[in-house]
């Protein structure tokens, strides 16, 4: 991540502070999922309100008897969104690699959000399988965005393997618990080389979580449920956009140090004093 500050301090829009993932460049630092919206129009309106340019889809078997919800891929493409397929639901490196290869064929993209989970209850990554899959996919020419535990060692290994982005979780997928271990997220930011974008993926509950992720020096935020299941998804989508932009500005502006005691804002010289 570059710490260059543009003279006008402009971030988050207009392409002056792009999020670069492999060969891709985005002016928005939000990546947004396409699941769980009340209906397709709300999804489209919410995506528009986030300003995102990169949206996730899942890859599932075609099932005639129990058809999956439509991806509305045509609508997403008409909207100009770059498609980021995921490997959600894969438990092994072998499954994840096959799903990634199928996604590349189906969607004509080398982007892949790599998820290899260990169980259904936590949806936490299986680190051994994740690292194996990441290596295979990077070697196969994929642009890998790897969903990871908030573990500095795993994140560093994923970056060293050549993942285009490393995406530690804030808290379990869909939990809305926010950033439960901001200290680990800070360490990950310090441990992973500046060339690898870091994105908080999963667990975002509300706008302040997204802003905090950006203030911690993260390059972006990936979320879905916090918008899709908000009472007013489009309004929350706008809140997330503003939060990510605000957090990015604040991080680059450089916050003041925390002090235990107060420090007067107004000058002490010349203040009016009345003798007792």
């Amino acid at each position: 991540m570059s710490n260059d500050v543009h003279s006008n301090g402009s971030v988050g829009s207009g392409g002056e502070d792009p999020l670069v993932i492999g060969d891709y460049e985005f002016s928005s630092r939000l990546i947004v999922g396409t699941s769980r919206y009340p209906n397709p129009q709300v999804m489209l309106d919410a995506l528009d309100a986030t300003g995102t340019e990169l949206v996730t889809v899942a890859i599932r078997r075609v099932n005639v008897e129990n058809p999956a919800p439509e991806s509305h891929l045509d609508l997403l493409r008409q909207g100009g969104y770059e498609i980021l397929p995921n490997t959600a639901g894969c438990y092994t490196a072998r499954e994840a690699v096959l799903v990634a290869q199928l996604a590349r064929e189906a969607l004509g993209t080398d982007l892949i959000k790599l998820e290899v989970i260990g169980d259904d209850e936590t949806l936490m990554p299986d680190v051994e399988q994740l690292l194996n899959a990441a290596k295979t996919l990077v070697d196969d020419g994929f642009t890998v965005l790897a969903y990871a535990n908030d573990d500095p060692i795993t994140c560093r290994k994923l970056a060293n393997l050549g993942c285009a982005a490393v995406m530690p979780l804030g808290s379990p997928i869909g939990s809305g618990m926010g950033l439960v271990n901001p200290y680990n997220l800070r360490i990950i930011r310090e441990e992973v080389d500046d060339e690898t974008p870091l994105i908080v993926d999963a667990g975002i509950g509300t706008a302040s979580d997204a802003a905090t992720a950006m203030e911690l020096g993260y390059d972006g935020v990936l979320l879905n449920t916090a918008i899709a299941e908000a009472q007013h998804p489009v309004q929350m989508a706008r809140a997330m956009r503003l939060a990510v932009e605000a957090g990015r500005h604040a991080q680059r502006a450089g916050r003041i140090p925390r002090r235990l005691y107060a420090q007067q804002s107004s000058p002490s010289a010349g203040r009016v004093q009345v003798d007792e």
Binding site: N63, S71, A88, E105
Partner: protein, 77 residues
């Protein structure tokens, strides 16, 4: 993936065991799934963990114990 005969063979399609004639065309597998092979954007196929590119679909037939995966994109996070 061999020449067509009438002998039935076991295969697996999207996790379900099926019996089809030996040499059953992949295109028929897709039609069974209500996919029009001529107009299937966002659909991909793998047999035995190898992706079959769409331009090759009409050259492929099934052999005994083949495992076929037919996928499409859906909403996801």
């Amino acid at each position: 993936m061999s020449s067509t005969t009438d002998a039935p063979i076991p295969v697996t399609v999207n996790g379900e065991a099926r019996t089809v004639p030996n040499g059953y065309p992949l295109l028929d597998v897709l039609r069974d799934l209500e996919i029009d092979p001529e107009d299937a954007p966002g659909v991909a196929v793998a047999i035995n963990d190898s992706v079959i590119r769409s331009q090759d679909w009409d050259n492929v037939t099934l052999s005994e114990e083949d495992t076929v995966e037919v996928i499409q994109a859906q909403q996801g996070g």
